[in-house]
């Protein structure tokens, strides 16, 4: 087989796996958003667990492929960094779902619509950025997408602060403050992981620009 073609096909495999991982992260967030828009219904952990396990499997496949592959279009460290950070998205989503279930009595009274919108925006942007990698995009375009992601993350920071302001006001009992603070911080963490993924993609594109 023509060697360059062989090398090329291996790179394609990494792009496919990274895209699959980003898609899996997005699915887990979409499942979470379905829960958050209808908090009255106690969710099942099955879908979140399946999503996390699927992403874990993809991350393992990437790790194994990196051992077998001598040359990749992308640097090994960058592939590892991106796959690790993408895996943390469904992992944190599952953790949120677990806490949501155990604190359902309190959590179901909360309006999470602002979080839903930010989560949707963040994961869509990450998926788009990862899909762009194989197209060798212009750095300006990736920087623009990353700036959108940073903006979403900054809005998430402001959102948690306004939520904390309410929790710290003295209107709520201690158990409610503890449970909701925990949930808000986990939601913020999901968006932080999206931001991290965006930073890694930008770093990769910068290297090749």
């Amino acid at each position: 087989m023509f060697t360059v073609q062989k090398l090329f096909s291996k790179d394609e495999k990494f792009y496919e796996l990274l895209e699959a991982s980003a898609e899996e992260s997005r699915h887990s967030v979409q499942a979470l958003n379905r829960v958050l828009v209808n908090p009255e219904k106690i969710p099942s952990l099955t879908e979140f667990h399946r999503s996390k396990e699927a992403d874990k499997h993809i991350t393992e496949q990437i790790g194994e492929a990196l051992i077998d592959t001598f040359v990749a279009d992308l640097e090994r460290e960058d592939i590892e960094a991106l796959s690790e950070v993408l895996y943390k998205i469904p992992k944190t989503v599952e953790k949120f779902a677990e806490r949501f279930i155990v604190s359902a009595r309190i959590a179901k009274q909360v309006n999470f619509s602002a979080h839903v919108a930010l989560l949707e925006k963040a994961t869509s942007t990450v998926t788009e950025m990862v899909k762009q990698l194989r197209k060798k995009p212009a750095i300006d375009y990736i920087k623009k997408l990353n700036a959108q992601l940073q903006q979403t993350e900054s809005e998430a920071d402001d959102l948690i602060l306004s939520m904390l302001e309410d929790l710290y006001s003295g209107k709520h009992d201690g158990a409610k403050v503890l449970a909701l603070k925990d949930l808000y911080e986990l939601l913020e963490k999901i968006i932080d992981r999206c931001r991290d993924a965006g930073n890694v993609v930008t770093h990769i594109v910068l290297k090749y620009s």
């Binding site: 602060l161 904390l164 003295g170 403050v177």
Partner: protein
């Protein structure tokens, strides 16, 4: 020849930028002391935002310098690890300040000065260590500074335990305990990041002796 000379020769610009980052981190902690020692009315977040923004710009310049340097004596991963740790100082301080302001009503009489003392010592030690790298200080001096840093971090851990012990007294209202625990843990993170930075600096110095 002692190879730190090479580090300084080729990577001087990166070290200079990192030193500015460390100094910016010191400024943000100094601003925190001012915030916590004055009446809360009229408190402004502008200084914290500006420190965080400046730090981000400096790290952007570090990233550009890394991308455009063909030969580096300091490994890129070390520069990135150091930059990440330094960036988290003003970021965490900004988080603290925002939460401190919204929770001011619950924080009357609470004294954070002992933690801030340790944060200041941590930041100043990191700045001295980076200056030491730039000025080709003997490895023994850098190791001594890092030992001081470990001591500061240990003291910060002990202080957190002491404060938490007080919060678990039945006389402390639950909400107040939750808020103080949150704030104290943020401050602890600042010292942890200084410790991380110190470890990276010593690693860099050791690699070049």
């Amino acid at each position: 020849m002692f190879s730190l000379q090479r580090v300084v020769g080729e990577d001087g610009k990166i070290l200079e930028l990192l030193q500015l980052c460390a100094e910016e981190a010191c400024h943000s902690v100094a601003a925190l002391r001012t915030l916590t020692s004055q009446p809360i009315s009229g408190a402004s977040l502008a200084t914290f935002r500006s420190a965080r923004k400046k730090e981000k710009e400096l790290l952007g310049s570090v990233a550009d310098a890394l991308l455009h340097s063909l030969v580096l004596a300091i490994e890129r991963e070390d520069v990135q690890a150091l930059g990440d740790s330094l960036y988290r100082v003003p970021k965490t301080v900004d988080n603290f300040a925002r939460r401190y302001i919204i929770a001011a009503g619950q924080l009357k009489g609470v004294d954070f000065s002992r933690q801030i003392d340790l944060m200041e010592r941590g930041c100043n030690t990191v700045a001295r260590m980076i200056r030491g790298l730039r000025e080709r200080a003997p490895i023994a001096d850098l190791k001594q500074l890092n030992a001081n840093m470990q001591k500061i971090e240990n003291d910060a851990d002990d202080l957190v335990l002491e404060i938490l012990g007080g919060l678990f007294e039945p006389s402390v209202p639950t909400l107040k305990a939750i808020i103080i625990k949150d704030l104290v843990e943020l401050n602890e993170k600042v010292v942890d990041r200084c410790r991380d930075a110190g470890n990276v600096i010593v690693r860099v110095a050791l690699k070049h002796t």
